[in-house]
Symmetry: C2
Subunit: 154 residues, 2 copies
DNA sequence: TTCTTAACTAAGAATAATTCTTAACTAGTA
DNA sequence: TACTAGTTAAGAATTATTCTTAGTTAAGAA
């Protein structure tokens, strides 16, 4: 996917009922650039600070929470106790590596379907389900390399 | 399930290769007592402090992390950015209420089987899978009441 | 275009959460 | 019973996050 233009970002922010300030546009761009990295507020700030030295860390904190509330981005669940954010709004799961502390996006259509089917057959009373994700805990074997999924032939 | 005796706790801690100090036994008991609440270190400290005023908060922090490493307890993922712990070691999932900030245990044998089957048929390259669980995010509709799951007849 | 105003931001203080340091203590073992 | 590696209390230090306030700005109205 190609990056959004500033106009498109402006529009998205406005469409959520928020003022499209220059700070918000920059934070949104940074989140898009850090897609897949699930950054903390501090990391977003580091990323945008060189090009935008006047944007304060406090603003980044506040803006990210504002975006979550407006459902422009999501909070990512975390094992390590910091607040992390995810620009990806399409359904996907996360792998949590206990050793490397990485949080890795994990998209598998079959798994999504399996869960969607399960939760369409089971209703949670008194709960409005917005999304689900699978937490896989374990250790990455070779920290430098990627993790991939393959089907095992029966 | 009935509570473990101090001897049994002592044994479990020793079996993990840790010194079974009185502080660790008390922390373990507190975790068992707070089962289902996914407490923070501070909350564990609050719970045990009245009966054990000499145990320091720092020790509670350290002990909980030691227990996680020894796999006596688990970290629970959090949306809110604090470290939370779970004494329940049997497979179960969690429901995250964004509005009430609750984390609710959710056990469903059918779901566990479904996932176990999926991950036995799909191999993750470069990852040693230790466990999995599902996170459901959304909002509780009536904060006072409970959430329950019901099967929808086709 | 200019005006108006509610919403937003920078800066840094304040608070909360977590880790670190060090000297004293203790469980497990010889 | 003594030894020693591992553990702990206390509080300092660090890190993460929120709050406060005065000034600024986007967006709609005149």
């Amino acid at each position: 996917m190609q990056p959004l233009t500033r106009q498109q970002i402006h529009q998205q922010i406005s469409a959520s009922g928020l003022k499209a300030t220059s700070q918000r546009i920059v934070v949104f761009e940074a989140m898009a650039a850090l897609h897949g990295q699930h950054p903390t507020a501090e990391e977003v700030y580091q990323h945008l600070h060189a090009a935008n030295p006047s944007i304060s860390l406090g603003t980044v904190y506040k803006t990210l929470d504002t975006f979550v509330e407006a459902e422009l981005i999501r909070r990512v669940l975390s094992e390590e106790g910091g607040k992390r954010y995810d620009a990806g709004m399409s359904p996907h799961s996360h792998i949590y590596c206990s050793n490397t502390k990485e949080i890795i996006d994990f998209e598998d259509e079959e798994l999504e379907k399996l869960l969607a089917a399960f939760f369409s057959q089971h209703r949670l009373e008194n709960f409005e389900l917005k999304g689900f994700s699978v937490q896989l805990t374990g250790n990455k074997l070779e920290p430098g390399k990627q993790i991939s999924i393959t089907r095992v032939s029966k």
